[in-house]
Symmetry: C2
Subunit: 101 residues, 2 copies
DNA sequence: ATAATAGGCAACTAAAAGGTTGCATGTCAA
DNA sequence: TTGACATGCAACCTTTTAGTTGCCTATTAT
């Protein structure tokens, strides 16, 4: 869980994910074309995304293809975010109540 | 957006949020009681959560009360996570398709 | 008025993150 | 079989992060 949050906490990595969202299955080199930093930089980010299971890979010869894995995102959404987002009404009203004092 | 992701990317901060989830409106000192580090540590985390607008505060005399703000969490869920979680079916099937080659 | 209490600010440190360069390895194409 | 191409690995550097300690300020209670 912590790993997923950490992986998502970086803009460059989210941009990589955006690229994969636009076109899934890109190789490292393809991803580098639109990146603002070196291949090794991209590679490191991909590794972190892979470790967090946000990205799944598949080798085809000497090419490594990258695919988004929506499962962990879904899990964070279900197990964590919903908990806090749900409280929307009660929390805001509690705050208001308190401010009125 | 980046600020929110970064704020959420730390376990200690998520624990602080958990505490506020359990009981909203806690003061800094009250939050310290269950924390594993110094008051200044907690204070810094609260500041980061506040900067990300994940926590809203309210002074009452010399006491600062802290409240969860579910809005940014909700926004991340709506604007970002849904985008990726939605792709669940298509992505998994695409991966399978590719693996079969 | 004074002491205790709640919190803030600033400087410092250690560790982690984000990025780089250089070199090694495995696969494909001529 | 040799050269080019796709990627990996490791060392290094710089900035950020997470946490500390020490001291200052404001509010409350006696």
């Amino acid at each position: 869980m912590d790993q997923i949050f950490k992986a998502l906490a970086n803009k460059s990595r989210r941009e990589v994910m955006d690229q994969l969202f636009a076109r899934d299955g890109l190789t490292l080199n393809e991803l580098c074309e639109n990146a603002s930093f070196s291949r090794q930089g991209v590679s490191k980010h991909l590794q972190i995304l892979e470790d967090a299971d946000l990205v799944v890979t598949h080798w085809s010869g000497r090419e490594k293809h990258h695919y988004l894995n929506p499962m962990p995102v879904h899990e964070i959404s279900e197990r964590w975010l919903k908990k806090y987002a749900r409280r929307q009404m009660t929390a805001v009203s509690a705050l208001k109540k308190n401010l009125e004092k």
